[in-house]
Assembly symmetry: C2
Homo-oligomer: 114 residues x 2
């Protein structure tokens, strides 16, 4: 676990811009933002990716998106719109093996999504 | 509700390639696939977007992603990877106002995601 950068940020061992946290979920600013607003919402407990979740994790997964929507609303993204993205594995470009939801807004997005 | 194309597909009033359904969730093939595998996982009950969900919807939201991960696994996407995307609103390019998760795999994805 000590090698996971997100676990280290959550544990306050590595600096990170934490913008929200509750008992299950932590949100930080992406250090390489790809939009005017670019947040990462992740489980507090380490999970590699969606592949490692089980049906009993549905409430946790749901919490990630309720928090994503809440943060989007607080930043005024809900009127024009925002995109959420989860990258799972190498071909998707997952750069940190700790499940995280990208919440991106403040500009127009194109299709396909990468 | 009769004007929502996804509700119409779910109700079997409009043809659509349904690949999975349970009590909460339905998955179909995207008619304009942007990757070798491109599925849409949606709530059976109409919801416009993430903006319309409340904390009590966490289990439903979680189910969307448990199903997304299951379908990805069944199609062999979990080894190389896959991307999930939710577009909320105009700037994100949401084309049907019925919440849906894009599950895309079978190729390498780029960054930023659109």
């Amino acid at each position: 676990m000590s090698e996971c950068i997100f676990c280290s940020i959550i544990a306050r061992k590595t600096p990170g811009r934490i913008v929200f946290e509750d008992n299950l979920v932590v949100a930080i600013e992406d250090i390489r933002p790809q939009a005017p607003v670019h947040l990462l919402v992740m489980p507090r407990a380490h999970v590699d990716s969606l592949n490692d979740l089980k049906p009993e994790d549905e409430p946790l997964l749901g919490r990630l998106f309720i928090v994503a929507a809440r943060l989007a609303r607080e930043r005024g993204l809900d009127t024009q719109g925002y995109r959420t993205v989860i990258n799972n594995g190498a071909w998707a470009g997952q750069s940190v093996a700790h499940l995280h939801v990208h919440v991106m807004g403040g500009r127009v997005f194109h299709w396909p999504p990468g």
